[in-house]
Amino acid sequence: MTRIADPAAGTRPGRGEASPEPAALTPNQLILHRAKRHPGLQIGGAVTLLIVLAALLAPWIAPHDPIQQDLLAKLRPPVWDPKGGWDHLFGTDIYGRDFFSRILYGARVSVVIGFFAALISAIVGSAIGILGGYFGGRVDAVVMYLVNVKLALPGLMVALALVSVTGGSILALVLVLAFLFWDRYAIVCRAVTQQIRVQDYVQAAVATGASNSRILLSEVLPNLTSQIIVLMSLEMALAIIVEASLSFLGLGVQPPTPSWGLLIAEGRQFLFFKPSLIVIPGIAIFLLVLAISLLGDGLRDVTATEGKE
């Protein structure tokens, strides 16, 4: 497989030369080298991992059942308030449900929905983009037409309408979110594929009779993977925010399943005298999205191939 823009392209030593080559690192070594020096990537990765673990382990580490109501324990304050207690770390909501547990389970919702939405839109969008970029001509015209239609649609409104007709199931939500984001992958993959297609080594492969699918798999796709992964992390962050927004508006995850956006909507009426009910879930969203964004940005910095050196 030939790689584009090998960042470590340098001359090799001749005979009788002392061995270490300080500037000639392999691409993977270069990525690792940069990753060790990238605080954003490390912090983002660590926090993301932490939250994902918390989300996955929620059934085991949550102190209470998140949807269990206890009307005698309504609106208890969080532990840092003098009237709060350790049995309800973040206090309780209007129905007496333990807020900490709801936040933990909310993490599950965000992580799962965000990840799968990003994954599905990555697969669909990249495929469309690659096909358009590779085959050009009429195929590309169709691809560009689809992308333009998607761009012209008011995303949030369409999402709201789709959720209202399909109901608020998690699957429907994931598909709707996937529909909102596929165009970014399509545009990027199309552009990169067009560049790759005109490279000499691809022309050579075509001339020697390699099948299209072989070329796509062995030449085009590997060069795209790092960009797709970067996009996935950035789109996942966006998907989490949009899911929270939809849930906030009541057209996302349906109660009693706790989504952070839903928690904010539920806590809205208590905005003035119990702000912790909206502050905590908001901070949770902020932290997760921030961590994933830092991770994505870090991945982009670390895998960027040098054009200019």
């Binding site: 090799r12 080559e21 000639a24």
Partner: protein, 336 residues
């Protein structure tokens, strides 16, 4: 080579690049000396450091680069000691640069006229009319057709050859004393190269310019140079007058280069063009011995362990022990 009154006197120039894998020493102990009206050709293959050496004269090195020089005098004054602000008063004014690729060296969204005038307006504080007159005069000397119209056009509207001529005009508009040209004709068609160089040489004679011409093309060297400096792996391996270097090259690399180039009328030794086996070494710090040793047919063990001193005789200097004994008056010393 006149002693006092040198236009440019650089000794011990070093440039290092800080890369992820380590530090590359791309310009190593380079000397450059030039008198007014003289043309010095800096010649070598790709990657030998000649462009970096040229860029360092105008402080245009990339951010990852650091440079130092034992001595850097321009028109008698210490160039290295100037702070950036005072250096900027010299750049474009007394020292100018001509770049390799005329397409990317011009700003695509600014008219050519404005790009030509702005150096003049900044340094001469004259009016636009004076700048315009000067520009049109230069364009006329450079045989640019429809010069007035060119000034209102944008870079992408011109052919490569015309763009390069405009770049020459842009560099010369303040009548600098020293011009550094980094492979000015490499990006041009062969047919246009010769004409462009001829026009440049004419203007140089008119203005008594000192010209440092960086190139990899020996043909250009044979046409333009008064003096030649041959660079290899960051070092200058041979310096001398054009004639001496071409007729009596002292360094095996220079000899190899000359043998590689077919010359009409000169019979080939062995009936074939010469080649130089092997490839350029990586330029990391701490290399032992002569850098050319791994490709030199005459290399001894001594060559591989001890860096050769620079020998001088009769206006020529070279970094090789081979002919040290054979040349009368050859004296070893530090620096090229």
């Amino acid at each position: 080579m006149t002693a006092g009154g040198l236009l440019l006197d650089v000794a011990g120039l070093n440039v290092r690049l800080r890369l992820p894998g380590g530090v590359l020493h791309v310009v190593n102990d380079v000397d450059l000396q030039l008198a007014r009206g003289e043309t010095l050709c800096l010649v070598g293959e790709s990657g030998c450091g000649k462009s970096m050496a040229a860029l360092s004269l105008l402080r245009l090195l990339p951010r990852i680069a650091s440079w130092s020089a034992a001595r850097m005098r321009f028109e008698g004054a210490d160039l290295a000691a100037l702070d950036d602000r005072r250096f900027a008063a010299l750049a474009g004014n007394r020292i100018a640069m001509i770049f390799q690729d005329p397409m990317t060296a011009f700003n695509p969204v600014v008219t050519l006229g404005e790009q030509l005038f702005e150096g003049f307006l900044r340094h001469r504080k004259g009016d636009r009319q004076a700048a315009r007159d000067k520009a049109l005069y230069l364009l006329d000397r450079l045989q640019v057709p429809a010069a007035e119209r060119r000034l209102t056009q944008y870079p992408h509207e011109l052919s490569g050859g015309l763009r390069q001529r405009l770049m020459i005009a842009m560099a010369l508009i303040c009548e600098p004393a020293l011009v550094v040209a980094d492979e000015p004709t490499t990006a041009l068609d062969v047919t246009v190269q010769a004409q462009t160089l001829r026009l440049l040489a004419e203007l140089q004679a008119d203005m008594d310019l000192g010209l440092i011409l960086v190139t990899h093309d020996l043909g250009i060297v044979s046409r333009m140079a008064d003096r030649v400096s041959v660079m290899y792996a960051g070092q200058i391996v041979e310096t001398g007058g054009r004639r001496s270097v071409f007729e009596r090259p002292r360094h095996p690399y220079t000899r190899g280069l000359i043998d590689c180039v077919p010359v009409p009328g000169r019979p080939l030794a062995n009936g074939r063009l010469g080649t130089i086996d092997g490839s350029v070494p990586m330029m990391q710090e701490g290399l032992q011995g002569c850098r050319f040793a791994n490709r030199c047919g005459h290399a001894t063990d001594h060559c591989r362990t001890a860096a050769p001193p620079v020998y001088r005789a009769a206006g020529q200097a070279w970094r090789c022990v081979l002919e040290a004994g054979a040349v009368p008056g050859a004296v070893p010393g530090a620096g090229s």
